[in-house]
Structures are given as structure tokens and as C-alpha cells.
Symmetry: C2
Subunit: 146 residues, 2 copies
Amino acid sequence: MFVTDAPRLDRQVCFALYSASRAATAVYRPVLEELGLTYPQYLVMLVLWENEPRGVKDLGHELGLDSGTLSPLLKRLEALGLVERRRSGDDERRVAVHLTPAGKDLSSKAGAIPQRLADAAGLTAGELEQLRGTLAKLTAALHGAV
Amino acid sequence: MFVTDAPRLDRQVCFALYSASRAATAVYRPVLEELGLTYPQYLVMLVLWENEPRGVKDLGHELGLDSGTLSPLLKRLEALGLVERRRSGDDERRVAVHLTPAGKDLSSKAGAIPQRLADAAGLTAGELEQLRGTLAKLTAALHGAV
DNA sequence: CACAATTCAATTGTGCACAACTTACATGTG
DNA sequence: CACATGTAAGTTGTGCACAATTGAATTGTG
């Protein structure tokens, strides 16, 4: 009777996490399409809007992504005319990712996005805040659990 | 001053969700590697262990995935010898996904996995339960928000 | 019955994630 | 200085996600 020892899908926090994450990016998708961005590209732009230029390694540290993901993504952002990659003068290994004027301009159009998502979430501000806290705690614990 | 109107990355629930989801599958990865499965493949197996055979559409409904994702994934599970796909007799459009004996056997090895994840999560059972509930509510709201 | 509309699965194409590897550059040590 | 060690970014290969399209089978309607 192999069925009984199988864990139930609907009992799993990880599946809930996986589903919620995909549902959230699905809500982002049409909104970000107006900006011509994917969700990971939007995250990179968020980091750069806070502070630029940034190295690829630095971006990777903020987002938890490696160069295998970021290199082609940044190449696409560069093709869109939103960023520029320049080899650093004092350390030729480093690539500094700069915002172009168009990249900076996009920031203002992106301002309303989080509110649109919050509206779609169907949770109160308090619930959202608590959720964010729990998720942050969970992520930290999971990273430590390797 | 484009910086001021940019939403802060660390304030975003969606990023917390995205990070937590990736961190969770990262913890699953080495555990599932012992079974030769990826996380989405494991999810498909979970559904089949509950009840089989299932059509591709049916699996997609349980997991929120479409045939574009499932068709190649199922082909890989079939190559691993865990499932078998058979065109249904009474409706030639449908493909019934059956477990092989090896696929059924794998269920017992998978039994201990959720506990190993729970241990890594660093949250109490109560917190996990509440998190799962909030995520389910969030996912449902986001799906309705299209 | 004919045929339009629908349904199921597969395919194609794009863009992540991530492991493993490569290349170029920098730095520390003898 | 020579050379081992380390580091930054890029490349390659695999496997999801997902949009859009295709092809085959079924169902609905006149």
C-alpha cells in the first residue's frame, strides 16, 4: 500500500511557497510587460535604482543569483538600452553595471507597481507584513541549513 | 532624484516569496538527488502516488502547470522508468500517466523527505501551519486577481 | 450526416535558475 | 620576479515556466 506513506501535496509548505511565488510573478507579468521587463529583470532594476553602478557579483549577492543567470539577463537589459556594462579600470575582472538615462527614467513608471500587487494580494497590510517577516526568517534558516 | 520613488527591494513581499521558494527548492535539491528527481518531478510523483493513472490535464490542474511544462517533464520521468504514458482507449486525445513498479517503489524512499525539510525550516510547526494557510489564501487571491 | 467549435497533448521559442567549467585578471608567498 | 592561489565574469548544458501555435480527436449544431 504505497499510497499511505506518501506525503500529501496539499500539506506541503514548499508547494504552497512554489505556487504562491509563481502566482505572484504571474500577476506581475502583465504589469511589467508595460515596461518591457520580466520579473527578474525588474528585480535587477530595483537594485540599480537604489544604488548604481554595481558589479555583477554585487547584484548577485543582493538577489541570490549567480553570473550564470545574471550575465545573459544583463546582456538583455543592455540590448533594451536600460543598462550599460563597462569593465572597471582599476580591476579588469570587474564589470560595472550602469543605468542609462532610459534606465533611470523607467523608475518613475515602476513606482505604482507594488501597490497594484498589494491590491491583488487580498491580504491586509498587517498580514502582508507578517508574511514578509516569516518568509525572511524562513529563507535565512533554509540558507543556513545547507 | 529617481531613487526616492523607487520601491525598495527589501520591502517587497514578492521578492521574499521568490527568495523563499528558491531557498526551499535548494534545500530539496540534494535530498531529491538521492532519488534522481528534480523538485517539479517530485511534485508530479506526489500527485501520482496519491492517485493514478492521471491525465496530463489533470496533473496540470493539481500543480498549476500546462502541457508545455509537463509534456517534456513526463517524458523524462518515463525515460527514468518511473512512469508510463498510454493513449487512452476511449478518448485518443488523452494520455494516461501510469506509475511503473519502480515509480511505486520510490514512494517509500520519499517518505522521510518532508520531515527533513521541516527540520531545515527553523520554524515551529505552528508557524509552518500558519504560513501554509497564508500562502494558500494569497495564491487563491492572486489567481482571482487576473 | 457534415462541419464548425472545442479539447487534449505536444511542439516551438524565450527567459530564467543553477551546476560545472573556462578565461582573464589580481594577489599573496617564497 | 615566478608562480600558486583566489576571484570576477562569462559560457555550456540541463531542466523548468509559460506564451503561442499545431495537430489530432471529440463534441455540438444545423
